[in-house]
């Protein structure tokens, strides 16, 4: 039987999905054990036991100076910056994307501009943001928003242009104004596309957040990772990286579920 026609059974499916994770874990455990056998003080590849202990300490122990648990404070700080940046970008992307896709005059004026702006490397703008907005949260939110808004605008413009022209004509024969078409024909059909586009841009959003936190901050997940790097605290770094990965995965999964729940018709269309 050809390889392209072979499918795993229910058990095989789980086993195959778990395989790469198990392999990575095994390779790590091996390498860690080898290093620790050579030098028990080695900090580069801590054992799983050390990692578990560190994670427990990070999640439960209060900081001696502030009396807070830094881990949760960092999480809250990062997530609120991420939400603010992505939220602003989503709003801008939605409004401008639909406007550019639907209204020829706005398209003529803004499409080229957005195409050029989207070529600006956001990280190169970071110093400008720090200079103009200070090193506080505003600059970090601005970096995330600047980083992903052009992509969202372009993606949602394309999605709006993809709406069958028949629907726009149909709406006009039912007496719809431009605003009515934007709000009742385009917007509802673009919202599920917005969620897909946000899911795609979350990777870059995390990148910009962590980069900004690493450069100038006093809290946040990215800040902590870069802070403890000076002490070679690999156990802390790995715990934070695993946590960031889990958060990113859960947000992505949650958005997918949300989209299916809010827009059942978008699934049926296939």
């Amino acid at each position: 039987m050809r390889l392209i026609n072979r499918y795993p059974g229910p058990v095989g499916r789980v086993a195959l999905a778990a395989l790469p994770f198990v392999l990575v874990g095994l390779v790590y455990a091996q390498a860690s054990a080898a290093r620790l056998a050579e030098n028990p003080q080695d900090r580069i590849l801590p054992s799983f036991a050390t990692l578990g202990g560190t994670a427990w300490r990070l999640l439960t122990e209060e900081d001696r100076r502030s009396g807070e648990i830094l881990f949760w404070g960092d999480t809250l700080s990062s997530l609120s910056l991420l939400a603010a940046g992505v939220g602003i970008a989503a709003l801008l992307g939605l409004v401008l994307g639909v406007a550019i896709g639907l209204i020829p005059l706005i398209r003529s004026s803004l499409q080229g501009f957005v195409a050029v702006v989207s070529m600006i490397p956001p990280l190169a703008v970071l110093p400008i943001l720090f200079i103009t907005l200070g090193v506080g949260d505003t600059a970090k939110i601005a970096l995330i928003a600047i980083g992903i808004t052009p992509f969202l605008i372009r993606d949602l413009t394309a999605r709006t242009l993809e709406l069958p022209q028949e629907q726009v004509v149909k709406a006009q024969t039912l007496g719809a104004s431009t605003l009515g078409i934007a709000l009742s024909v385009a917007l509802p059909q673009i919202l599920p596309r917005l969620i897909s586009a946000i899911r795609l841009s979350l990777g870059p959003a995390w990148l910009f957040l962590i980069a900004a936190e690493a450069v100038a901050s006093d809290s946040g997940l990215g800040y902590r990772v870069f802070l403890v790097r000076r002490f070679l605290a690999m156990d802390v770094i790995l715990t934070y990286v695993a946590w960031i990965t889990l958060l990113a995965f859960l947000i992505d999964w949650g958005l997918a579920r949300l989209s299916r729940w809010l827009f059942p018709w978008a699934e049926a269309r296939g």
């Binding site: 069958p164 028949e166 629907q167 004509v169 149909k170 709406a171 006009q172 024969t173 039912l174 007496g175 719809a176 104004s177 605003l179 009515g180 078409i181 934007a182 709000l183 009742s184 024909v185 509802p188 059909q189 827009f263 059942p264 018709w265 978008a266 049926a268 269309r269 296939g270």
Partner: protein, 260 residues
């Protein structure tokens, strides 16, 4: 009484002529079937009637008034596909026929409840009440087209344009749709233009059947000339031809057969 008057329409896209010298006079309440080869400009003609595009030359008037430059509620349309809104339930698709004309494109409060009640009555009548809360994607092709026609009619247009509305349906469903359309027309007399590839359907439903074809033909450049109305049949008595449009340059054309 003449409702739609088409005078010497030419339509080209770039250098390519699609329609030439199309003139037509249609009385209020007439059902015009339009047939012709694929790509000869039937949909283009409907777009001109809809005022989705302006002709290169010539003029279309409705009730003696020139068209205004964009589609409006006086002319409804049903396409072969994409005619209903996929994000609205079957019932809300009917409600949209009233709601879309509001400033924000939707109805609120008591107006919305009243429109929903009317929509439910409509769905009852067209046999879609049992799927009122489903999305169009869950409906069969015939049900979707029934919904599309009901939606267009809910806006009470004077002129209804149908672009191969039953082209994708199986023969049995097609027959049902014919009966459905005939019933609806007895209730609300409106002027209908229907493009179809099915000659039997054209003669069965239409009062007149008009044929679009090319009267001039350059074998080295098939796209050199556009199509015009070559036949205009009276379809009321089983389709006895009462009028044969004259070829302007006098040549008879081999493709000028309605069965082409």
């Amino acid at each position: 009484m003449t409702l739609v008057q088409v005078d010497g329409i030419f339509q080209s896209y770039g250098p390519r002529p699609i329609l030439e010298r199309v003139s037509l006079s249609v009385g209020e309440g007439e059902f015009i079937s339009i047939v012709g080869a694929s790509g000869c400009g039937k949909s283009t003609f409907l777009r001109l009637l809809l005022d989705q595009e302006r002709p290169t030359r010539g003029q279309i008037t409705v009730d003696g008034q020139p068209l205004k430059g964009e589609p409006d509620r006086t002319r409804g349309i049903v396409f072969q596909r994409y005619s209903v809104f996929p994000h609205l339930t079957v019932r809300d698709n009917i409600v949209a026929a009233e709601g879309l004309s509001r400033p924000l494109g939707r109805l609120f409060g008591p107006a919305r409840r009243a429109a929903r009640a009317r929509a439910d009555a409509t769905l009852d009548r067209i046999g879609l009440a049992h799927v009122a809360h489903q999305y169009p994607a869950a409906l069969s092709g015939g049900m979707q087209q029934r919904l599309a026609i009901a939606q267009a009619l809910a806006a009470k247009p004077r002129i209804l344009l149908l672009d191969e509305p039953f082209g994708a349906l199986d023969p049995g469903t097609r027959e049902q749709m014919h009966a459905f359309l005939t019933d609806l027309r007895q209730e609300t007399p409106m002027t209908v233009f229907m493009v179809t590839h099915d000659l039997r359907e054209a003669f069965k439903l239409g009062d007149r059947v008009i044929v679009f074809d090319k009267t001039r033909w350059d074998p080295h450049d098939p796209a050199a000339y556009g199509a015009t109305i070559t036949y205009d049949f009276d379809a009321r008595n089983g389709g006895i031809p009462y009028q044969l449009k004259e070829d302007q340059d006098g040549s008879s054309h081999p493709a000028a057969q309605p069965a082409a």
